[in-house]
Symmetry: D2
Subunit: 382 residues, 4 copies
């Protein structure tokens, strides 16, 4: 693995490294860890990168690695730069035959996203998008239960993602994470909706297997002096006629990372909370609620997608890093199968890719368009 | 107390009686418990009503009671009929000098509500509207904390009220509660929004002290064959610029009565769940969440509105019936003070009244108007 | 109903009145509410007692009421005095033909308890002991599930009852409740074990249907200057070979009234928390945990003992006062059936009585004996 | 790192590898992964071990590694064999200059534990004992809060560790984990008390800073046909006069890994649940409960021991593997400092070691002795 971005001050780069390390399937062997050469070099040394693969730009890394013999060079790059700097390294990597892991949102614009999709299709290379929350075993369980029709036809989806960390103008107080995320030139045309609304929308579509077809958005800039939305709510219509509500706010003072989803069908409902991720509540119309738990011994009740994305028995909580690790592990297993000419298992193939990236960028575009419109409903276009 | 409606098959009448009985301040001494004379009579006998005050119509009851000497007759009527049959008995009672307790929504139409308001103002009589949820001590605590500015300026309100009991066409399967609530001629122009959306809207305005000024509603008839909305979501704007989301659905299969509210201000947030009503979560931007509990000994942290609406020490859970009882108790204390020429305490005066009834009827009108409109925002008119 | 004790400063008397009022089946018509004549009189007036039945001693009340015609006099007395003053009024009431409701622990000594039992058997009168926690619908549900063998043979019972309100020497700071409860001359030979340990022991035996046969107790006086145990733990053996642990402490600083019980059998376990009383967790060896809820519509999963002890549909929380009310309601229905020559329903008959009172007093004796012994196990003798 | 045990069928070996991998500080470079040569070899290949460091016995590994130049050889061994096979490889490693990480309980007998301690003291090498639960940030937070006197003098400790996985005779049904853990020749003289009771005892002493001085144990063999205790409860006395209760059972049907601890002092209490590990409940005598959360931004409320053992911001749940990883990371940082001649930070030094191992073995001895005794209290001897 060669990492682009993720130098010593970055947040998400460190998370990617833990996730990639965890299962002993992936090794960090090269990096272009910062656009500042000295930071890149120093960061690489702290991570035990050999000097000659501790690069100072992604262009340099991709060129040098592509020149190595195939059993020496990296198999893939992982891109953990701010949003505006996703597309160029991803495209360069694909053009040079490297698979790509990329942090969400996939690109800066929908147009870039479509170009990446085209390139992926041309090259047959793998692009993995780290929509972390779809890596949780009980999220996969939920998806499979919907797919198998356990709930009957889906009628209602409520997904909320409240955070409180942008309740003040932290971007002016030296918070680097806040600074780029609230800057339209780095983050894109949406703030909270791009940063976390896309996660919520992905989760809703991932679990339900449905697609948003219309939406009605109300985006707000709550903290004075901010350029992008820090709060918003969206009414949704799905392609089977179901309706939904999506809330994404970063000014919910006192909230940590309280992503929750509830999905109701004719026969029952599912509820999942990211902050208690090993539990899936299964509600029934005519019988007591069941509490499905990751890693449990009642495997007859659990999908193979849930059981194969656990590492520990029930009651040994796995968390965010393991969910992230599941995306890397599934990607790695798929890649390994591909390299060995095998067919990857269906469970390994279950990680977000370029199509999810397209949907994410389209979601941002559509939500912003709706928010600016006086019409109630805006058609969701891709 | 003379009860109108609430005969032997009714649900809410029994609740009102328990709530009224609980504190030994109110006695059921007369009733016109059903529009069917035999049911009325039989119901009255089961409740130990004396024969001569076991009436067969509200007109009869009001006339007969009004003719009794003032120390013998009932002080007030309580109206627990279906929505369409609220106005007439309420108006008659007021015209004959009786105070009124009335189940929500207050009337069938906003116009009726305005007439009641006028009559209440003319007569100086008390009208108490049983918006039960505002009777919970921790709801009152939340209201006082907002009022005192603990959270700073309010920015966001999320209130959701999911129930699952109308997930099937129960109104066709002999469920009497479902039958009248889904019948426009008995329930009014809204279904779920009238039945429970009004509770959610009341709670949001009651706790926040704000008023809804604009809304954008999406009402749905999910179960085929039903005439009124059984599901809906509403985007809200409040008079201080805050935004909000209100969800009211009766097709959330597997949900009981899961009313929840979250209110965020500049400094922190409050969260309250009706199904765990003795707990108020107080979230802070810069310090750990606190769990405020009804009946606790740390009275310095609790408003007098909270402490005076408890009957037991912390850890002895009070519930829905006690919240209902608080409305009756506060009404009774206010009435008693009035009868004795005293000034009621500010805590006693804190029960919903005719103004809340107006807001409730206006909410229904505005939500229905918005749902039928193509415009995103509908001004909230009263 | 004639109440003995429970004057204006008392805690538990007010609770009894609410519980008795709630369902409109019982009316407070007489009282000897305090041993201080003026307090008794004033308290009676506050409760709207007629002057001639507002007595100043229980002897006076029982004599006067017994002299009334049978359709005028009270049917039963309710005794809510401190422990040392339970026996005499109870015995007098029974001797004069009155049924008795009595707060737990039933008496001051085991010997008194046995005398009451003998008198109850002689007279055929009903004695109801208000072990409140056995009035909760989900406790009754648990009992029935064990009885029906759902869990298989019971193996382990863990019951804990932590409170924090005696963490300081409150009895010296004017806390009247603390004062008598920590005074051996008023409370009896045990403190926390008598006050709340008896509740825990009753709950364990009530739900499991088992009897404690041996115990090993460690009682502690934690707060310096206190005469009776304020903390303790007991290892238990039951008559089917199961083992258990009982913890009762009033120095668990910060705890409210956190009674919890867990019962494990061969096939699964049950868990119930008094502070969230409408929920019963049902854990299974080979399938997901179920969350049984009071008042739910899935009545096939609920025992008639649970459904007949609810007043509201699922999601409308009932609490401590309703549990207390259930004991009064079941007693009243049993009494009514008896008075009318009918057979009470089995559900009505399910309230604690004199036998439970005997077990409670024996528990205190045995726990204190064990605590004073160097031997590990003390046989539980009655 | 060279791993001893942990071949392809083992449970805990895989956990150790994830924990060691996670932070990129430790690399698995050698192994003697099974006592069966073919299993060892195959397991090593699956983990990408080079052939020449994929050993078939620990003796071979230690000898061969010791012969390598110091910059090539492993720095430490990690021992993940069943209990009976801990001592010999640990002693051999220490004798050959290797640091040691070892799964708990440290040895098979207390005598072996004392010998290891002596050898550690002689050599100055580091022995790290993986009492996982002390690696959780909120456990460390609890320990520091007690240490700083936040709760005042500690009065009561309740620790319970219920599991259900040995509710049946799984050791006869091909469950390898069950087989050795219930076999006295492999597990030692205690079953549940050795396997999980030691964790509970360690946690109680670790958080409270107290030492058990007396105990009264009741160990049971609940499942017929089993040789060792599968259930037990212990009354405890601590060196400051506090009392406690410890419950460890593996027949609590339906429980996963529900380790919980509650500690009460004069001013308040702490409660921590392993299955929701990022939350520490802080209960106060005179103010609302606080919910302290790992990774939160209110760092003024969090000890450096808590903050330095997190990898993610609040609301991104970390779990069991991260707690395990913390022990490895702290060990690795301590080792690194030592190798570089630096002083390790106090936070890095906070991992369990040989003294904890001694206490664990003594706990087993004392609990078994007490259980066999008729006396109530057994002095805790080491």
């Amino acid at each position: 693995m060669g990492m682009i971005g993720g130098g010593k001050d970055a947040f998400i780069g460190a998370i990617h490294r833990i996730a990639a390390n965890m299962d002993g399937l992936i090794e960090l062997t090269a990096g272009a860890l910062s656009i500042k050469a000295d930071v890149a070099k120093e960061s690489g040394r702290m991570l035990f990168l050999p000097d000659d693969r501790n690069y100072t730009s992604y262009e340099e890394m991709i060129k040098a690695e592509a020149a190595l013999p195939s059993d020496k060079r990296i198999d893939f790059v992982t891109i953990v730069t701010p949003n505006f700097a996703h597309f160029a390294p991803a495209m360069t990597a694909l053009e040079n035959g490297f698979h790509v892991v990329i942090e969400k949102p996939m690109t800066f614009t929908l147009d870039e996203a479509k170009k990446l999709k085209q390139k992926v299709e041309e090259t047959g290379l793998i692009l993995c998008l780290t929509h972390t929350y779809s890596g949780y075993p009980m999220v996969k369980q939920a998806r499979q239960m919907v797919k198998e029709g356990t709930l009957g036809k889906i009628r209602k989806i409520i997904v909320e993602y409240p955070q409180g960390w942008l309740s003040r103008l932290s971007e002016r107080e030296g918070n680097a994470q806040a600074a780029w995320r609230t800057d339209p030139s780095k983050s894109g045309k949406a703030g909270a909706m791009g940063d976390i609304g896309t996660h919520a929308a992905h989760l809703a579509e991932y679990i339900s297997g449905l697609k948003i077809t219309k939406l009605c958005a109300d985006l707000n800039v709550v903290v004075e002096g901010r350029a992008l939305d820090d709060d918003g709510a969206v009414l949704l219509k799905f392609n089977n006629g179901a309706s939904g509500v999506l809330i994404a706010t970063q000014i919910a003072a006192g909230e940590e990372n309280a992503l929750k989803i509830k999905i109701y069908g004719e026969n029952g409902g599912l509820e999942w909370h990211q902050m208690e991720p090993n539990t899936l509540l299964v509600k029934w119309l005519d019988q007591p609620m069941q509490v499905l738990r990751a890693g449990s011994n009642y495997t007859a009740f659990l999908s193979s997608y849930a059981t194969q994305n656990c590492r520990t028995p029930g009651g040994h909580p796995e968390g965010y890093l393991e969910a992230f690790g599941n995306i890397y592990r599934n990607f790695a297993r798929t890649l390994q199968a591909k390299l060995e000419g095998d067919e990857p298992s269906k469970e390994s193939l279950d990680f977000p890719g370029v199509e999810d990236g397209i949907r994410g960028m389209a979601f941002i575009d559509n939500v912003v368009a709706s928010s600016e419109s006086d019409k109630k409903w805006t058609d969701y276009v891709v």
